[in-house]
């Protein structure tokens, strides 16, 4: 069902946990739908220097959360905004069709965290990032 990469990230998720004093936090999903992702980022000079997550959800939800934190670390905010759900899914060697929505959730969580970062920086009005599909 899942690729080896998915299973690896599911079984040994990277960057799990709460971040103290994050620069941005995004929470997406809904327990009724079975998936909630909370993504924390730390930003220095417009570059994401650390990322952490907490996720309630299926195997794909946990793996995509883990993968997106890995991908995003070291990227500039600009670069990070270019990360799409496909980037995440491909980095995991693909996801089953019924699980593609988890990668969308991961993308949304990242965008939400970056938005939060902008808000905190008082930039929210100028550079509001819109949710992509």
């Amino acid at each position: 069902m899942y690729s080896e990469k998915v299973m690896d990230h599911f079984n040994n998720p990277r960057n799990v946990g709460v971040m103290e004093n994050p620069d941005g936090v995004g929470t997406v999903g809904n327990p009724v739908c079975g998936d909630v992702m909370k993504l924390y980022i730390k930003v220095k000079d417009e570059r994401i220097v650390d990322a952490k997550f907490q996720t309630f959800g299926c195997g794909a939800a946990i793996a995509t959360s883990s993968m997106v934190t890995e991908i995003v670390k070291g990227k500039t905010i600009k670069e990070a905004l270019k990360i799409s759900n496909k980037t995440v899914a491909e980095a995991l060697d693909g996801l089953p069709p019924v699980k593609m929505h988890c990668s969308v959730l991961a993308e949304e969580a990242l965008k939400a965290a970056i938005n939060d970062y902008f808000s905190q920086k008082g930039k929210s009005k100028k550079e509001k990032v819109s949710k992509q599909d």
Binding site: V32, G34, F56, C58, G59
Partner: protein
């Protein structure tokens, strides 16, 4: 790695003695039972012996047993066969909201073809109220179809009591006994049913073979049309090795089911008790007592079911989030919904089903891994502190 199979309600391994009976009918005694020559007649005899064993298991006459390709076909046959044969009399059918998809989807098919369906509710333990059945019966009701025990939550329904009501009204009564035949005492006369579906692979027989009991005199049309097999009630060359395997499984079940059920009930109750002892915010789904001997279905809050299953699988443990056939969808189980489990809690549901080769050591190992996994998943979850328990 230790491997522990706790998904006996999804399917069981075929008993080695059953396998031994089956194999010769693939390659040596390979005749077509409809053939009049010796190759055919030898096999015909064994098929009829299997029919007797299955009949014996459920207190029926051999002529009342029709072999099918499994429980699903048997359920479809019962519903569609009765509906099409009796539509002049009426077009109303009563069933419940917690039936297996084999019944529910056949009902949806019939709805599209002009039949009117009533889906009875169940209480919080999954029990159907016999009074609801009584109230739902109309002039045009031709069939009541209710499962003997639910495959997800294990609740055993009051079929005999309902049978009395349905029989008084002169309406056909079908029960899906796929989860009870070969496991509990199942007798078509005690249950007062006209039709009963069973499936070999749920009690240590092979997959792809089952039977429908059809009480003598029941008016129905065939479901699979063609040759004269099964006294013209089910066409198609017989799955001879499968049927002979089903017969053997029935024979073994007849001898062992009582003792085995007792053993499983003890293991089941031990496991339930320990889950409650060792994990917080858990609820048991299904009736605490009127329950299949091997069924444990719990909702573990703040944990999502699939990750639970996958983690257990990585530890060698096979469990299920409900019925195997729905696990490829994302919708939470219709059964948990029907008993009123909140959706976010339903997501954290897991079913362990115990069987012939389950040991206390298996249960202890599973408990250990379950506790570990729940701890881990809750620690990953953003909600371990925020969420309020809903139980």
């Amino acid at each position: 790695m230790r491997r522990v199979y706790l998904d006996y309600a999804a399917t069981t391994p075929t008993h080695p003695d059953v396998v031994k009976e089956m194999v010769p009918f693939l390659n040596q005694e390979f005749g077509n039972p409809s053939s009049i020559h010796t190759f055919g007649r030898e096999v015909r005899k064994k098929v009829e012996e299997a029919r007797e064993k299955v009949a014996h298991l459920i207190g029926a006459n051999p002529e009342e047993i029709v072999f099918t390709s499994g429980g699903t076909e048997a359920d479809n046959f019962a519903l569609i066969g009765i509906a099409f044969a009796n539509e002049k009399k009426g077009n109303h059918i009563i069933t419940s909201s917690i039936e297996h998809h084999a019944v529910l989807e056949a009902c949806h098919f019939l709805e599209k073809r002009g039949f009117s369906l009533t889906y009875l509710p169940v209480d919080k333990d999954g029990l159907i109220d016999p009074n609801d059945v009584k109230r739902a019966i109309k002039n045009k009701t031709i069939l009541v179809s209710l499962m003997h025990a639910n495959n997800e939550i294990g609740t055993i329904e009051p079929i005999a009591e309902i049978g009395k009501i349905v029989k008084e009204k002169g309406i056909y009564f079908h029960t899906d006994a796929v989860q009870t035949a070969g496991i509990l005492d199942v007798n078509v006369n005690d249950l007062k049913v006209d039709l009963l579906a069973l499936s070999a692979h749920k009690f240590y027989g092979p997959k792809g073979v089952g039977a429908l009991y059809i009480r003598k005199g029941t008016r129905m049309v065939p479901f699979i049309h063609g040759g004269h097999q099964e006294r013209r009630r089910r066409a198609g060359t017989e799955n001879t090795s499968g049927i002979i395997g089903l017969g053997k499984a029935a024979e073994i079940a007849q001898e062992t089911k009582e003792k085995e059920a007792k053993r499983l009930r003890e293991l089941r109750d031990y496991m339930i008790k320990e889950i409650f002892n060792q994990i917080e915010n858990v609820r048991l789904n299904g009736h605490p007592i009127q329950r299949l001997p091997g069924n444990i279905n719990v909702s573990i809050e703040f944990v999502e079911g699939e990750s639970l299953l996958l983690n257990l699988d990585l530890a060698g443990i096979a469990a299920s989030s409900g019925s195997a056939c729905t696990s490829d969808t994302l919708e939470p189980s219709h059964v948990l919904k029907a008993i009123g489990v909140p959706i976010q809690v339903a997501h954290g549901s897991i079913r362990f089903t115990l069987g012939k080769w389950t040991t206390k050591e298996d249960i202890d190992y599973t408990l250990e891994k379950l506790v570990e996994t729940v701890k881990k998943l809750r620690s990953i979850s953003p909600y371990q502190h925020d969420w309020k328990s809903t139980s």
